[in-house]
Protein backbone atom coordinates (compact mmCIF):
# COMPACT_ATOMS: atom_id res chain seq x y z
CA UNK A 1 0.00 0.00 0.00
CA UNK A 2 1.18 3.49 -0.85
CA UNK A 3 -0.19 6.57 0.89
CA UNK A 4 -0.31 9.67 -1.27
CA UNK A 5 1.90 12.35 0.32
CA UNK A 6 -0.46 15.10 -0.80
CA UNK A 7 -3.97 13.89 -0.03
CA UNK A 8 -3.29 10.71 1.99
CA UNK A 9 -5.39 8.64 -0.38
CA UNK A 10 -4.48 4.95 -0.32
CA UNK A 11 -3.07 3.59 -3.56
CA UNK A 12 -2.15 0.10 -4.67
CA UNK A 13 1.53 -0.89 -4.62
CA UNK A 14 3.13 -0.05 -7.96
CA UNK A 15 0.90 2.95 -8.70
CA UNK A 16 2.83 5.92 -10.07
CA UNK A 17 0.33 8.74 -9.60
CA UNK A 18 -2.44 9.32 -7.09
CA UNK A 19 -5.87 8.53 -8.54
CA UNK A 20 -7.44 11.05 -6.19
CA UNK A 21 -5.35 14.17 -6.76
CA UNK A 22 -2.93 13.26 -9.58
CA UNK A 23 0.25 13.74 -7.50
CA UNK A 24 3.40 11.81 -8.29
CA UNK A 25 3.87 8.93 -5.86
CA UNK A 26 7.60 8.35 -6.40
CA UNK A 27 9.25 8.77 -3.01
CA UNK A 28 12.94 8.41 -3.85
CA UNK A 29 15.35 10.93 -2.31
CA UNK A 30 12.92 13.76 -1.73
CA UNK A 31 13.66 16.48 0.71
CA UNK A 32 11.48 15.97 3.76
CA UNK A 33 7.91 17.11 3.97
CA UNK A 34 7.62 19.94 6.48
CA UNK A 35 5.80 18.92 9.63
CA UNK A 36 6.02 22.17 11.62
CA UNK A 37 4.47 25.48 10.69
CA UNK A 38 5.53 27.58 7.76
CA UNK A 39 5.54 31.31 7.43
CA UNK A 40 6.70 33.78 4.86
CA UNK A 41 8.70 36.74 6.02
CA UNK A 42 8.37 39.88 3.87
CA UNK A 43 11.80 41.43 4.24
CA UNK A 44 11.00 44.91 2.93
CA UNK A 45 8.00 45.24 5.24
CA UNK A 46 9.39 43.38 8.23
CA UNK A 47 6.15 41.45 8.30
CA UNK A 48 5.54 37.75 8.80
CA UNK A 49 2.66 35.99 7.04
CA UNK A 50 1.63 32.72 8.67
CA UNK A 51 0.54 30.00 6.27
CA UNK A 52 -2.43 27.98 7.35
CA UNK A 53 -2.97 25.56 4.47
CA UNK A 54 0.34 23.82 4.28
CA UNK A 55 -0.34 21.45 1.38
CA UNK A 56 -0.23 23.83 -1.52
CA UNK A 57 -0.83 27.53 -1.99
CA UNK A 58 -0.28 30.18 -4.63
CA UNK A 59 1.34 33.60 -4.26
CA UNK A 60 0.36 36.61 -6.33
CA UNK A 61 -1.56 39.81 -6.28
CA UNK A 62 -5.26 40.32 -6.62
CA UNK A 63 -6.35 42.49 -9.48
CA UNK A 64 -9.84 43.61 -10.45
CA UNK A 65 -11.56 41.39 -13.01
CA UNK A 66 -9.34 38.44 -12.22
CA UNK A 67 -10.99 35.07 -11.91
CA UNK A 68 -8.24 33.05 -10.24
CA UNK A 69 -7.39 34.42 -6.83
CA UNK A 70 -3.96 33.75 -5.37
CA UNK A 71 -4.17 32.04 -1.99
CA UNK A 72 -1.81 34.64 -0.58
CA UNK A 73 -2.52 38.11 -1.91
CA UNK A 74 0.50 40.40 -1.80
CA UNK A 75 -1.19 43.46 -3.34
CA UNK A 76 -1.12 45.40 -0.08
CA UNK A 77 2.68 45.03 0.05
CA UNK A 78 3.44 47.03 -3.11
CA UNK A 79 3.33 43.84 -5.14
CA UNK A 80 2.43 45.68 -8.34
CA UNK A 81 5.34 48.10 -8.05
CA UNK A 82 7.70 45.27 -7.29
CA UNK A 83 6.71 43.26 -10.37
CA UNK A 84 4.76 40.42 -8.79
CA UNK A 85 2.48 38.69 -11.31
CA UNK A 86 -1.17 37.98 -10.57
CA UNK A 87 -0.38 34.28 -10.21
CA UNK A 88 3.30 34.30 -9.57
CA UNK A 89 4.35 31.09 -7.88
CA UNK A 90 3.03 28.06 -6.04
CA UNK A 91 4.53 26.57 -2.88
CA UNK A 92 3.79 22.95 -2.12
CA UNK A 93 4.57 20.70 0.75
CA UNK A 94 4.33 17.30 -0.89
CA UNK A 95 7.41 15.22 -1.63
CA UNK A 96 9.28 17.94 0.21
CA UNK A 97 8.77 21.68 0.23
CA UNK A 98 9.00 23.15 -3.28
CA UNK A 99 8.30 26.35 -5.14
CA UNK A 100 7.09 26.45 -8.74
CA UNK A 101 7.17 29.61 -10.80
CA UNK A 102 3.85 29.82 -12.68
CA UNK A 103 5.23 31.58 -15.73
CA UNK A 104 5.48 34.99 -14.03
CA UNK A 105 6.62 38.02 -16.03
CA UNK A 106 9.54 38.94 -13.78
CA UNK A 107 10.54 35.53 -12.57
CA UNK A 108 11.13 33.77 -9.28
CA UNK A 109 14.58 33.57 -7.71
CA UNK A 110 15.86 31.20 -5.02
CA UNK A 111 18.87 32.67 -3.19
CA UNK A 112 19.49 34.97 -6.13
CA UNK A 113 19.19 32.38 -8.87
CA UNK A 114 16.34 32.55 -11.32
CA UNK A 115 14.44 29.27 -11.58
CA UNK A 116 12.96 27.71 -14.67
CA UNK A 117 9.17 28.19 -14.70
CA UNK A 118 6.69 25.31 -14.22
CA UNK A 119 9.19 23.00 -12.55
CA UNK A 120 9.06 22.50 -8.78
CA UNK A 121 12.31 23.51 -7.06
CA UNK A 122 13.09 22.40 -3.51
CA UNK A 123 13.31 25.10 -0.87
CA UNK A 124 14.17 24.98 2.80
CA UNK A 125 14.31 27.00 6.02
CA UNK A 126 16.01 30.35 5.58
CA UNK A 127 15.93 30.38 1.77
CA UNK A 128 15.69 33.83 0.26
CA UNK A 129 13.07 34.12 -2.46
CA UNK A 130 12.45 36.90 -4.94
CA UNK A 131 9.14 37.28 -6.70
CA UNK A 132 10.16 39.91 -9.23
CA UNK A 133 11.73 42.47 -6.91
CA UNK A 134 9.81 41.43 -3.80
CA UNK A 135 12.02 39.71 -1.24
CA UNK A 136 10.70 36.92 0.96
CA UNK A 137 12.24 34.51 3.38
CA UNK A 138 11.00 31.01 4.18
CA UNK A 139 10.66 30.35 7.90
CA UNK A 140 9.88 26.95 9.36
CA UNK A 141 9.12 26.41 13.04
CA UNK A 142 8.98 22.95 14.56
Amino acid sequence: MIICPTCHHHEVQGALFCSECGSHLGQEDQNPVIQGSLSIYLIDHDHELAVTDLESFTLGRFDEGQSIMPDIDLSSYQAFERGVSRLHAMIRNEQGLTITDLGSSNGTYINGERVEPHIPHPITQGDLLNLGKMKLKILIQD
Binding site: M1, C7, V12, Q13, G14, A15, L16, F17, C18, S19, E20, C21, G22, S23, H24, G26, E28, S56, T58, S67, I68, L87, M90, R92, T100, L102, G103, P117, H118, P120
Partner: protein, 492 residues
Protein backbone atom coordinates in the same frame (compact mmCIF):
# COMPACT_ATOMS: atom_id res chain seq x y z
CA UNK B 1 10.25 -21.29 -50.73
CA UNK B 2 6.83 -19.78 -51.13
CA UNK B 3 6.54 -16.61 -49.11
CA UNK B 4 3.22 -17.44 -47.54
CA UNK B 5 4.59 -20.43 -45.73
CA UNK B 6 7.50 -18.59 -44.13
CA UNK B 7 7.79 -20.36 -40.78
CA UNK B 8 8.45 -17.20 -38.83
CA UNK B 9 5.39 -15.48 -40.27
CA UNK B 10 3.31 -18.52 -39.43
CA UNK B 11 4.28 -18.43 -35.79
CA UNK B 12 4.30 -14.63 -35.63
CA UNK B 13 7.83 -14.40 -34.23
CA UNK B 14 10.98 -12.86 -35.65
CA UNK B 15 14.15 -14.69 -36.73
CA UNK B 16 15.81 -13.18 -33.66
CA UNK B 17 13.36 -14.81 -31.25
CA UNK B 18 14.80 -16.91 -28.41
CA UNK B 19 14.01 -20.66 -28.44
CA UNK B 20 11.75 -20.18 -25.45
CA UNK B 21 9.77 -17.46 -27.23
CA UNK B 22 9.32 -19.71 -30.26
CA UNK B 23 8.04 -22.43 -27.96
CA UNK B 24 5.61 -20.09 -26.24
CA UNK B 25 4.30 -18.74 -29.54
CA UNK B 26 3.79 -22.30 -30.73
CA UNK B 27 1.89 -23.25 -27.59
CA UNK B 28 -0.33 -20.21 -27.91
CA UNK B 29 -1.14 -21.15 -31.53
CA UNK B 30 -1.80 -24.78 -30.62
CA UNK B 31 -4.22 -23.87 -27.87
CA UNK B 32 -6.05 -21.60 -30.25
CA UNK B 33 -6.10 -23.80 -33.34
CA UNK B 34 -6.12 -27.37 -32.10
CA UNK B 35 -8.75 -29.41 -34.01
CA UNK B 36 -10.17 -30.63 -30.70
CA UNK B 37 -11.21 -27.12 -29.73
CA UNK B 38 -11.46 -25.32 -33.05
CA UNK B 39 -13.84 -26.47 -35.73
CA UNK B 40 -13.65 -23.63 -38.22
CA UNK B 41 -12.63 -24.79 -41.72
CA UNK B 42 -9.15 -23.83 -42.82
CA UNK B 43 -7.82 -23.72 -39.30
CA UNK B 44 -6.89 -27.40 -39.40
CA UNK B 45 -4.54 -26.76 -42.33
CA UNK B 46 -3.12 -23.76 -40.53
CA UNK B 47 -2.64 -25.94 -37.47
CA UNK B 48 -0.68 -28.49 -39.53
CA UNK B 49 1.42 -25.73 -41.14
CA UNK B 50 2.27 -24.36 -37.71
CA UNK B 51 3.11 -27.84 -36.50
CA UNK B 52 5.51 -28.16 -39.45
CA UNK B 53 7.03 -24.75 -38.76
CA UNK B 54 7.63 -25.60 -35.13
CA UNK B 55 9.22 -28.98 -35.99
CA UNK B 56 11.87 -27.06 -37.92
CA UNK B 57 12.32 -24.00 -35.74
CA UNK B 58 12.53 -25.95 -32.49
CA UNK B 59 15.41 -28.05 -33.79
CA UNK B 60 18.67 -26.03 -33.76
CA UNK B 61 20.17 -27.86 -36.78
CA UNK B 62 17.07 -27.68 -38.91
CA UNK B 63 16.58 -24.06 -37.89
CA UNK B 64 20.13 -23.14 -38.95
CA UNK B 65 19.61 -24.78 -42.34
CA UNK B 66 16.28 -23.10 -42.75
CA UNK B 67 17.69 -19.68 -41.81
CA UNK B 68 20.43 -20.16 -44.44
CA UNK B 69 17.81 -20.81 -47.08
CA UNK B 70 16.13 -17.47 -46.40
CA UNK B 71 17.30 -14.25 -47.98
CA UNK B 72 18.62 -11.53 -45.67
CA UNK B 73 15.28 -9.76 -45.20
CA UNK B 74 13.18 -12.84 -44.79
CA UNK B 75 12.33 -14.17 -41.40
CA UNK B 76 11.65 -10.74 -39.99
CA UNK B 77 8.10 -9.66 -39.40
CA UNK B 78 6.66 -6.50 -40.97
CA UNK B 79 6.04 -5.15 -37.48
CA UNK B 80 8.32 -5.02 -34.47
CA UNK B 81 6.91 -5.04 -30.99
CA UNK B 82 8.59 -3.44 -28.01
CA UNK B 83 7.20 -3.57 -24.47
CA UNK B 84 8.29 -1.45 -21.53
CA UNK B 85 7.12 -2.12 -17.99
CA UNK B 86 6.83 0.18 -14.99
CA UNK B 87 8.96 -2.34 -13.08
CA UNK B 88 11.56 -4.80 -14.29
CA UNK B 89 10.12 -7.53 -12.11
CA UNK B 90 7.24 -8.19 -9.78
CA UNK B 91 8.16 -8.14 -6.09
CA UNK B 92 6.60 -10.84 -3.92
CA UNK B 93 4.16 -8.69 -2.02
CA UNK B 94 1.26 -10.23 -0.22
CA UNK B 95 -0.95 -7.43 -1.46
CA UNK B 96 -2.45 -6.24 -4.72
CA UNK B 97 -0.07 -4.45 -7.08
CA UNK B 98 -0.25 -2.34 -10.21
CA UNK B 99 1.95 -2.78 -13.27
CA UNK B 100 1.97 -0.56 -16.33
CA UNK B 101 3.01 -1.85 -19.74
CA UNK B 102 3.67 0.34 -22.76
CA UNK B 103 3.48 -1.59 -26.05
CA UNK B 104 4.90 -0.04 -29.22
CA UNK B 105 4.23 -1.58 -32.61
CA UNK B 106 6.54 -0.15 -35.25
CA UNK B 107 6.86 -1.02 -38.96
CA UNK B 108 10.04 -2.72 -39.96
CA UNK B 109 11.68 -0.23 -42.37
CA UNK B 110 12.52 -2.87 -45.00
CA UNK B 111 8.90 -3.81 -45.28
CA UNK B 112 7.35 -0.47 -46.16
CA UNK B 113 6.30 -1.07 -49.74
CA UNK B 114 5.73 2.58 -50.73
CA UNK B 115 2.73 1.34 -52.60
CA UNK B 116 -0.10 2.15 -50.26
CA UNK B 117 -3.45 0.50 -50.76
CA UNK B 118 -6.38 2.54 -52.08
CA UNK B 119 -8.54 4.75 -49.92
CA UNK B 120 -12.20 3.97 -49.40
CA UNK B 121 -13.54 6.82 -47.31
CA UNK B 122 -17.07 8.01 -46.71
CA UNK B 123 -17.94 11.37 -45.21
CA UNK B 124 -21.22 11.35 -43.29
CA UNK B 125 -22.31 14.96 -42.85
CA UNK B 126 -24.94 16.10 -40.40
CA UNK B 127 -27.15 18.69 -42.14
CA UNK B 128 -29.68 19.20 -39.34
CA UNK B 129 -31.14 22.66 -38.72
CA UNK B 130 -28.57 23.51 -36.07
CA UNK B 131 -25.76 23.16 -38.64
CA UNK B 132 -27.01 26.27 -40.45
CA UNK B 133 -24.46 29.07 -40.83
CA UNK B 134 -20.72 28.87 -40.17
CA UNK B 135 -20.87 25.18 -39.22
CA UNK B 136 -22.27 24.01 -42.53
CA UNK B 137 -20.18 26.55 -44.45
CA UNK B 138 -16.99 25.17 -42.95
CA UNK B 139 -18.13 21.61 -43.51
CA UNK B 140 -18.81 22.36 -47.20
CA UNK B 141 -15.49 24.06 -47.69
CA UNK B 142 -13.61 21.19 -46.03
CA UNK B 143 -15.58 18.60 -47.99
CA UNK B 144 -14.65 20.32 -51.27
CA UNK B 145 -11.02 20.37 -50.24
CA UNK B 146 -11.02 16.69 -49.30
CA UNK B 147 -12.84 15.74 -52.49
CA UNK B 148 -10.19 17.44 -54.63
CA UNK B 149 -7.43 15.87 -52.58
CA UNK B 150 -8.75 12.31 -52.57
CA UNK B 151 -10.42 11.88 -55.95
CA UNK B 152 -7.20 10.74 -57.65
CA UNK B 153 -6.00 8.66 -54.75
CA UNK B 154 -9.08 6.56 -54.06
CA UNK B 155 -12.75 6.80 -53.43
CA UNK B 156 -14.46 9.48 -51.38
CA UNK B 157 -18.18 9.00 -51.04
CA UNK B 158 -20.41 11.58 -49.38
CA UNK B 159 -23.60 11.06 -47.42
CA UNK B 160 -25.68 13.78 -45.77
CA UNK B 161 -28.18 13.11 -43.02
CA UNK B 162 -30.75 14.75 -40.80
CA UNK B 163 -33.57 12.49 -39.67
CA UNK B 164 -33.02 10.62 -42.93
CA UNK B 165 -29.99 10.14 -45.11
CA UNK B 166 -29.20 10.96 -48.75
CA UNK B 167 -26.24 9.80 -50.82
CA UNK B 168 -24.64 12.85 -52.37
CA UNK B 169 -21.74 11.05 -54.01
CA UNK B 170 -21.88 7.25 -54.25
CA UNK B 171 -18.70 5.23 -53.73
CA UNK B 172 -16.96 4.44 -57.00
CA UNK B 173 -19.34 6.58 -59.09
CA UNK B 174 -17.93 8.49 -62.05
CA UNK B 175 -19.12 12.04 -61.82
CA UNK B 176 -17.86 15.24 -63.33
CA UNK B 177 -15.98 17.26 -60.69
CA UNK B 178 -18.11 20.38 -61.33
CA UNK B 179 -21.22 18.31 -60.75
CA UNK B 180 -19.94 17.00 -57.42
CA UNK B 181 -18.71 20.41 -56.35
CA UNK B 182 -21.99 22.10 -57.11
CA UNK B 183 -23.95 19.47 -55.21
CA UNK B 184 -21.66 20.03 -52.20
CA UNK B 185 -22.42 23.75 -52.45
CA UNK B 186 -26.13 23.00 -52.56
CA UNK B 187 -26.33 21.07 -49.27
CA UNK B 188 -29.22 22.58 -47.32
CA UNK B 189 -29.68 22.43 -43.58
CA UNK B 190 -32.95 21.21 -42.09
CA UNK B 191 -34.39 18.53 -39.82
CA UNK B 192 -33.19 16.66 -36.75
CA UNK B 193 -30.15 14.47 -36.12
CA UNK B 194 -30.39 10.72 -36.47
CA UNK B 195 -26.91 9.33 -36.45
CA UNK B 196 -28.06 5.80 -37.15
CA UNK B 197 -29.51 6.90 -40.51
CA UNK B 198 -26.29 8.61 -41.51
CA UNK B 199 -24.10 5.77 -40.35
CA UNK B 200 -26.19 3.17 -42.12
CA UNK B 201 -26.01 5.05 -45.44
CA UNK B 202 -22.26 5.67 -45.04
CA UNK B 203 -21.61 2.03 -44.29
CA UNK B 204 -23.55 0.97 -47.40
CA UNK B 205 -21.26 3.20 -49.49
CA UNK B 206 -18.06 1.87 -47.92
CA UNK B 207 -19.28 -1.71 -48.39
CA UNK B 208 -19.58 -1.14 -52.15
CA UNK B 209 -15.82 -0.89 -52.47
CA UNK B 210 -14.80 -2.91 -49.43
CA UNK B 211 -11.25 -4.00 -50.08
CA UNK B 212 -8.86 -5.82 -47.76
CA UNK B 213 -5.89 -3.83 -49.03
CA UNK B 214 -7.65 -0.48 -48.58
CA UNK B 215 -8.24 1.81 -45.65
CA UNK B 216 -12.02 1.51 -45.27
CA UNK B 217 -13.11 4.41 -43.16
CA UNK B 218 -16.11 6.56 -42.22
CA UNK B 219 -15.78 10.11 -40.96
CA UNK B 220 -18.92 11.22 -39.16
CA UNK B 221 -19.48 14.95 -38.57
CA UNK B 222 -22.27 16.04 -36.28
CA UNK B 223 -23.26 18.86 -33.95
CA UNK B 224 -26.19 17.34 -32.16
CA UNK B 225 -27.56 14.65 -29.93
CA UNK B 226 -29.18 11.65 -31.45
CA UNK B 227 -32.12 10.24 -29.52
CA UNK B 228 -33.19 6.65 -29.12
CA UNK B 229 -30.92 5.15 -31.77
CA UNK B 230 -27.71 5.00 -29.72
CA UNK B 231 -27.86 1.26 -29.11
CA UNK B 232 -28.64 0.51 -32.75
CA UNK B 233 -25.78 2.78 -33.84
CA UNK B 234 -23.32 1.00 -31.54
CA UNK B 235 -24.44 -2.36 -32.93
CA UNK B 236 -23.86 -1.01 -36.43
CA UNK B 237 -20.37 0.09 -35.41
CA UNK B 238 -19.62 -3.42 -34.16
CA UNK B 239 -20.71 -4.85 -37.50
CA UNK B 240 -18.58 -2.28 -39.30
CA UNK B 241 -15.56 -3.20 -37.16
CA UNK B 242 -15.97 -6.88 -37.99
CA UNK B 243 -15.90 -6.00 -41.70
CA UNK B 244 -12.74 -3.96 -41.27
CA UNK B 245 -14.36 -0.52 -41.41
CA UNK B 246 -13.27 2.03 -38.83
CA UNK B 247 -15.04 5.23 -37.77
CA UNK B 248 -13.83 8.70 -36.80
CA UNK B 249 -16.29 11.07 -35.14
CA UNK B 250 -15.97 14.83 -35.19
CA UNK B 251 -18.26 16.74 -32.85
CA UNK B 252 -18.89 20.40 -33.65
CA UNK B 253 -19.91 22.87 -30.97
CA UNK B 254 -21.06 21.81 -27.52
CA UNK B 255 -24.35 19.96 -27.92
CA UNK B 256 -23.25 16.54 -29.11
CA UNK B 257 -22.88 13.48 -26.93
CA UNK B 258 -19.14 12.94 -26.49
CA UNK B 259 -19.50 9.77 -24.43
CA UNK B 260 -21.62 8.16 -27.13
CA UNK B 261 -19.48 9.25 -30.09
CA UNK B 262 -16.29 8.26 -28.28
CA UNK B 263 -17.70 4.81 -27.76
CA UNK B 264 -18.96 4.56 -31.32
CA UNK B 265 -15.48 5.36 -32.66
CA UNK B 266 -13.51 3.29 -30.16
CA UNK B 267 -15.46 0.09 -30.93
CA UNK B 268 -13.91 0.27 -34.40
CA UNK B 269 -10.45 1.41 -33.27
CA UNK B 270 -11.19 5.04 -34.17
CA UNK B 271 -11.19 8.26 -32.14
CA UNK B 272 -13.46 11.18 -31.54
CA UNK B 273 -12.45 14.82 -31.99
CA UNK B 274 -13.87 18.10 -30.80
CA UNK B 275 -14.17 21.29 -32.85
CA UNK B 276 -15.23 23.97 -30.37
CA UNK B 277 -15.24 26.47 -33.22
CA UNK B 278 -16.37 25.58 -36.79
CA UNK B 279 -13.11 26.97 -38.24
CA UNK B 280 -11.26 24.05 -36.62
CA UNK B 281 -13.12 21.50 -38.78
CA UNK B 282 -10.76 21.97 -41.72
CA UNK B 283 -7.52 21.43 -39.83
CA UNK B 284 -8.84 18.44 -37.85
CA UNK B 285 -9.97 16.67 -41.02
CA UNK B 286 -6.79 17.52 -42.92
CA UNK B 287 -4.79 15.92 -40.11
CA UNK B 288 -7.09 12.95 -40.22
CA UNK B 289 -6.64 12.45 -43.96
CA UNK B 290 -2.90 12.87 -43.62
CA UNK B 291 -2.94 10.09 -40.99
CA UNK B 292 -5.00 7.87 -43.28
CA UNK B 293 -2.48 8.47 -46.07
CA UNK B 294 0.29 7.17 -43.85
CA UNK B 295 -1.31 3.91 -42.73
CA UNK B 296 1.06 0.94 -42.77
CA UNK B 297 -1.33 -1.64 -41.34
CA UNK B 298 -4.98 -1.20 -40.50
CA UNK B 299 -7.57 -3.19 -38.62
CA UNK B 300 -5.08 -3.89 -35.87
CA UNK B 301 -6.73 -6.18 -33.35
CA UNK B 302 -5.25 -7.47 -30.14
CA UNK B 303 -6.68 -10.79 -29.07
CA UNK B 304 -5.66 -13.09 -26.28
CA UNK B 305 -5.97 -13.84 -22.61
CA UNK B 306 -5.18 -11.97 -19.43
CA UNK B 307 -3.05 -14.02 -17.04
CA UNK B 308 -4.51 -15.84 -14.03
CA UNK B 309 -4.88 -13.61 -10.98
CA UNK B 310 -4.49 -10.52 -13.17
CA UNK B 311 -7.02 -7.90 -14.26
CA UNK B 312 -6.70 -5.36 -17.02
CA UNK B 313 -7.79 -2.08 -15.45
CA UNK B 314 -7.35 0.19 -18.37
CA UNK B 315 -6.16 0.23 -21.94
CA UNK B 316 -5.41 3.50 -23.72
CA UNK B 317 -3.96 4.36 -27.12
CA UNK B 318 -1.34 7.13 -27.01
CA UNK B 319 -0.33 7.12 -30.68
CA UNK B 320 -1.02 7.64 -33.56
CA UNK B 321 -4.35 9.01 -32.26
CA UNK B 322 -5.25 9.38 -28.62
CA UNK B 323 -8.21 7.32 -27.62
CA UNK B 324 -9.82 5.13 -25.04
CA UNK B 325 -9.73 1.44 -25.83
CA UNK B 326 -12.03 -1.30 -24.56
CA UNK B 327 -10.62 -3.29 -21.63
CA UNK B 328 -11.66 -6.64 -23.06
CA UNK B 329 -10.46 -8.71 -26.01
CA UNK B 330 -10.48 -8.83 -28.96
CA UNK B 331 -9.79 -5.08 -28.93
CA UNK B 332 -9.57 -2.93 -32.05
CA UNK B 333 -6.46 -0.82 -31.59
CA UNK B 334 -6.66 1.22 -34.81
CA UNK B 335 -3.79 1.61 -37.28
CA UNK B 336 0.00 1.45 -37.39
CA UNK B 337 1.57 4.43 -39.21
CA UNK B 338 4.41 4.24 -41.76
CA UNK B 339 6.52 6.77 -39.95
CA UNK B 340 5.77 6.14 -36.29
CA UNK B 341 4.35 3.61 -33.90
CA UNK B 342 1.10 2.43 -32.49
CA UNK B 343 1.52 2.90 -28.74
CA UNK B 344 -0.82 1.44 -26.18
CA UNK B 345 -0.60 1.84 -22.42
CA UNK B 346 -2.06 -0.91 -20.25
CA UNK B 347 -2.66 -0.91 -16.52
CA UNK B 348 -2.71 -4.33 -14.90
CA UNK B 349 -3.91 -5.14 -11.40
CA UNK B 350 -2.11 -8.13 -9.94
CA UNK B 351 -3.65 -10.01 -7.03
CA UNK B 352 -1.52 -11.74 -4.41
CA UNK B 353 -0.81 -15.44 -4.82
CA UNK B 354 2.20 -15.51 -7.15
CA UNK B 355 4.76 -16.08 -4.42
CA UNK B 356 5.71 -19.52 -5.67
CA UNK B 357 6.01 -18.69 -9.36
CA UNK B 358 9.13 -17.66 -11.30
CA UNK B 359 7.23 -15.55 -13.77
CA UNK B 360 3.84 -14.02 -14.04
CA UNK B 361 1.96 -13.81 -17.32
CA UNK B 362 0.08 -10.53 -17.74
CA UNK B 363 -1.23 -11.10 -21.23
CA UNK B 364 -0.61 -13.60 -23.97
CA UNK B 365 -2.08 -13.52 -27.43
CA UNK B 366 -1.76 -12.12 -30.90
CA UNK B 367 -1.82 -8.88 -32.75
CA UNK B 368 -3.72 -9.41 -35.99
CA UNK B 369 -3.58 -6.79 -38.69
CA UNK B 370 -4.25 -6.04 -42.33
CA UNK B 371 -1.40 -4.82 -44.49
CA UNK B 372 -2.08 -1.60 -46.36
CA UNK B 373 1.44 -0.48 -47.17
CA UNK B 374 3.32 -3.69 -46.39
CA UNK B 375 3.61 -7.05 -48.16
CA UNK B 376 0.71 -9.27 -47.14
CA UNK B 377 2.95 -12.19 -46.17
CA UNK B 378 2.16 -12.11 -42.50
CA UNK B 379 -0.88 -10.98 -40.62
CA UNK B 380 -0.26 -11.80 -37.03
CA UNK B 381 2.32 -11.24 -34.36
CA UNK B 382 2.84 -13.14 -31.12
CA UNK B 383 2.47 -10.84 -28.10
CA UNK B 384 3.61 -12.02 -24.70
CA UNK B 385 3.60 -9.74 -21.68
CA UNK B 386 5.22 -11.30 -18.64
CA UNK B 387 7.51 -10.40 -15.77
CA UNK B 388 9.80 -12.36 -13.47
CA UNK B 389 8.72 -12.64 -9.83
CA UNK B 390 11.50 -11.72 -7.39
CA UNK B 391 12.00 -11.38 -3.65
CA UNK B 392 13.90 -8.09 -3.63
CA UNK B 393 12.14 -4.78 -3.63
CA UNK B 394 14.59 -2.38 -5.24
CA UNK B 395 13.13 -2.47 -8.74
CA UNK B 396 11.85 1.03 -9.07
CA UNK B 397 13.31 2.09 -12.32
CA UNK B 398 10.29 3.16 -14.28
CA UNK B 399 11.10 4.28 -17.84
CA UNK B 400 10.58 8.00 -18.34
CA UNK B 401 8.12 7.42 -21.20
CA UNK B 402 5.83 5.43 -18.90
CA UNK B 403 6.03 7.96 -16.07
CA UNK B 404 5.12 10.77 -18.43
CA UNK B 405 2.28 8.87 -20.08
CA UNK B 406 0.83 7.72 -16.76
CA UNK B 407 1.09 11.24 -15.36
CA UNK B 408 -0.92 12.67 -18.23
CA UNK B 409 -3.33 9.77 -18.23
CA UNK B 410 -3.97 10.24 -14.50
CA UNK B 411 -5.16 13.77 -15.31
CA UNK B 412 -7.50 12.49 -17.99
CA UNK B 413 -8.83 9.93 -15.57
CA UNK B 414 -9.38 12.57 -12.88
CA UNK B 415 -11.83 14.40 -15.14
CA UNK B 416 -13.48 11.09 -16.03
CA UNK B 417 -13.87 10.34 -12.35
CA UNK B 418 -15.34 13.80 -11.70
CA UNK B 419 -17.92 13.40 -14.48
CA UNK B 420 -18.82 9.96 -13.24
CA UNK B 421 -19.40 11.41 -9.77
CA UNK B 422 -21.39 14.25 -11.24
CA UNK B 423 -23.67 11.82 -13.03
CA UNK B 424 -24.24 10.10 -9.69
CA UNK B 425 -25.16 13.40 -8.07
CA UNK B 426 -21.97 13.62 -5.96
CA UNK B 427 -21.36 17.27 -6.71
CA UNK B 428 -18.92 17.92 -3.86
CA UNK B 429 -16.66 15.03 -4.80
CA UNK B 430 -16.72 16.04 -8.46
CA UNK B 431 -15.81 19.62 -7.53
CA UNK B 432 -12.96 18.38 -5.35
CA UNK B 433 -11.50 16.24 -8.12
CA UNK B 434 -11.78 19.01 -10.69
CA UNK B 435 -10.06 21.33 -8.21
CA UNK B 436 -7.20 18.82 -7.87
CA UNK B 437 -7.03 18.57 -11.64
CA UNK B 438 -6.81 22.33 -11.92
CA UNK B 439 -3.92 22.40 -9.42
CA UNK B 440 -1.98 19.76 -11.33
CA UNK B 441 -2.51 21.56 -14.62
CA UNK B 442 -1.30 24.81 -13.09
CA UNK B 443 1.92 23.17 -12.02
CA UNK B 444 2.34 21.76 -15.55
CA UNK B 445 2.07 25.28 -16.96
CA UNK B 446 -1.40 24.71 -18.44
CA UNK B 447 -2.70 27.99 -17.04
CA UNK B 448 -5.59 28.50 -19.45
CA UNK B 449 -7.04 25.05 -19.00
CA UNK B 450 -6.46 25.25 -15.26
CA UNK B 451 -8.35 28.53 -15.11
CA UNK B 452 -11.19 27.20 -17.26
CA UNK B 453 -11.60 24.34 -14.79
CA UNK B 454 -11.70 26.68 -11.81
CA UNK B 455 -14.47 28.64 -13.49
CA UNK B 456 -16.41 25.43 -14.03
CA UNK B 457 -15.87 24.42 -10.40
CA UNK B 458 -17.34 27.75 -9.32
CA UNK B 459 -20.35 27.13 -11.59
CA UNK B 460 -20.67 23.63 -10.33
CA UNK B 461 -20.82 24.68 -6.70
CA UNK B 462 -23.36 27.38 -7.52
CA UNK B 463 -25.69 25.53 -9.84
CA UNK B 464 -24.68 21.83 -9.41
CA UNK B 465 -24.17 21.53 -13.17
CA UNK B 466 -21.30 22.11 -15.49
CA UNK B 467 -21.56 23.78 -18.89
CA UNK B 468 -21.47 21.53 -21.97
CA UNK B 469 -18.68 23.68 -23.33
CA UNK B 470 -16.61 23.44 -20.15
CA UNK B 471 -17.07 19.71 -19.94
CA UNK B 472 -15.85 19.08 -23.49
CA UNK B 473 -13.04 21.57 -23.20
CA UNK B 474 -11.74 19.87 -20.05
CA UNK B 475 -12.08 16.39 -21.52
CA UNK B 476 -10.44 17.06 -24.87
CA UNK B 477 -7.98 19.51 -23.30
CA UNK B 478 -6.63 16.94 -20.82
CA UNK B 479 -6.68 14.33 -23.57
CA UNK B 480 -4.52 16.47 -25.84
CA UNK B 481 -1.89 16.59 -23.09
CA UNK B 482 -1.20 12.97 -24.03
CA UNK B 483 -0.05 14.01 -27.51
CA UNK B 484 3.69 13.61 -28.09
CA UNK B 485 4.02 17.40 -28.00
CA UNK B 486 2.25 17.24 -24.64
CA UNK B 487 0.93 20.80 -24.43
CA UNK B 488 -2.48 22.21 -25.18
CA UNK B 489 -0.89 25.54 -25.93
CA UNK B 490 2.61 26.95 -25.87
CA UNK B 491 3.57 28.61 -22.58
CA UNK B 492 3.84 32.34 -23.05
Amino acid sequence: MEKKSNYYNLLGVSKDAAPQEIRRAYHEAVLRLHPDVNMSPGDTELFLDIQGAYDVLSNPNLKANYDDSLSANEGYLPIDVQVLYSQLALPQFKETQLIYALMSFTPNDDQISNNPGPLNICLALDRSTSMKGPRLDNVKETTLHLYRQIKDRGSLSIVTFSDRAEVLLPAGAHREPWEVESSIHLIQSGGGTEIYQGLMAALAEVYRLLDTSAVNHIILLTDGMTYGDEEASLKLAETAARQGVSITCLGIGDDWNDVFLDKLASITGGSSFYASDPVEIGSILKDKISNINRVFASDVILDGKIGTGVDLNYQFRLQPEIGELPDNFPAHLGTIPNDGSLKVLLEFLIYPGHENQDRISLFEGRLNYRCVNCPPTASSLYVDLNLPVVTSESLKKTPESIVKAVERLSLYRLQQKAYQELSEGKVDLAAKHLQHLSNRLLSLGENDLSQAILEEVANLLKSTTISAHGKKRIKYGTRSLLLPSGKTNPVS
